[in-house]
Symmetry: C2
Subunit: 110 residues, 2 copies
Amino acid sequence: MSDTRHDVAEFTSSLNDLVHQRTRLGILTIVQEGGKVDFGYLQDALGLTGGNLSQHLTVLQAAGLVHIDKGYEGKRARTWVSKTKAGSRALRDEVSALKALVAHIEGIGS
Amino acid sequence: MSDTRHDVAEFTSSLNDLVHQRTRLGILTIVQEGGKVDFGYLQDALGLTGGNLSQHLTVLQAAGLVHIDKGYEGKRARTWVSKTKAGSRALRDEVSALKALVAHIEGIGS
C-alpha cells in the first residue's frame, strides 16, 4: 500500500490548482480551442456571472496563462481573451496529470 | 464553435467540486484503494496539516462520501476513514467526466 500512497501524492501534487479548478479548466479549454474569445461568449459558455468570470480571468492573467485585450468593436466596448504559450503548456500538463490519475484510479477496481 | 461551447459547458458542469478539488480527489482515491485508512496515513500521503485534512474530511463526510470512525488501538486514539457507496460512485462519475474532458482537449490539437 505504500507504493499507492506515493503514487497518489505524486498525482495530486502535480495537479495545479490554478488550472485544475473547474471553471478555470473550462476557460483554458475554450480559449485553447477558440483562439481569441469574447468575454460574453465565455460567460454564456460557462454559465457564469460577469464578476465571477472576471475573478477567474484575473487569476489566470496574473499567472500569465491568458492574454486579455480590451478594445472596441464599433462603439461597443469588448474584452477578448486569448491563450498564451504558458497557458497551453499548463493545460497540457494538467491533461497529463489527469490521465495518470485516471489510469491509476481505473487500475484500482471497485 | 457553438458545438464546442456546449461540450465544454457540459464537461465542466459535470465536474463536481466536492470531488474534483485536488485534495479531496486524493483522499477519495486513497480511501477507494485502501479500504479503511488511518488519519495519519492520509495526512502523510497527501502532505497535509491535520487541520487541513480534517476540514476536507468534514466536507466529504457531510456529503456522505466517506465514513469516519473514531476509536482506540490499545491506548492510542485513532481515526479511520473509509469509503461509502456514494463516495465510490462520485469518484467513478468524476473519472468519467475527466475522461470526456481529456478526450475533448486532446481532440483540439495545439
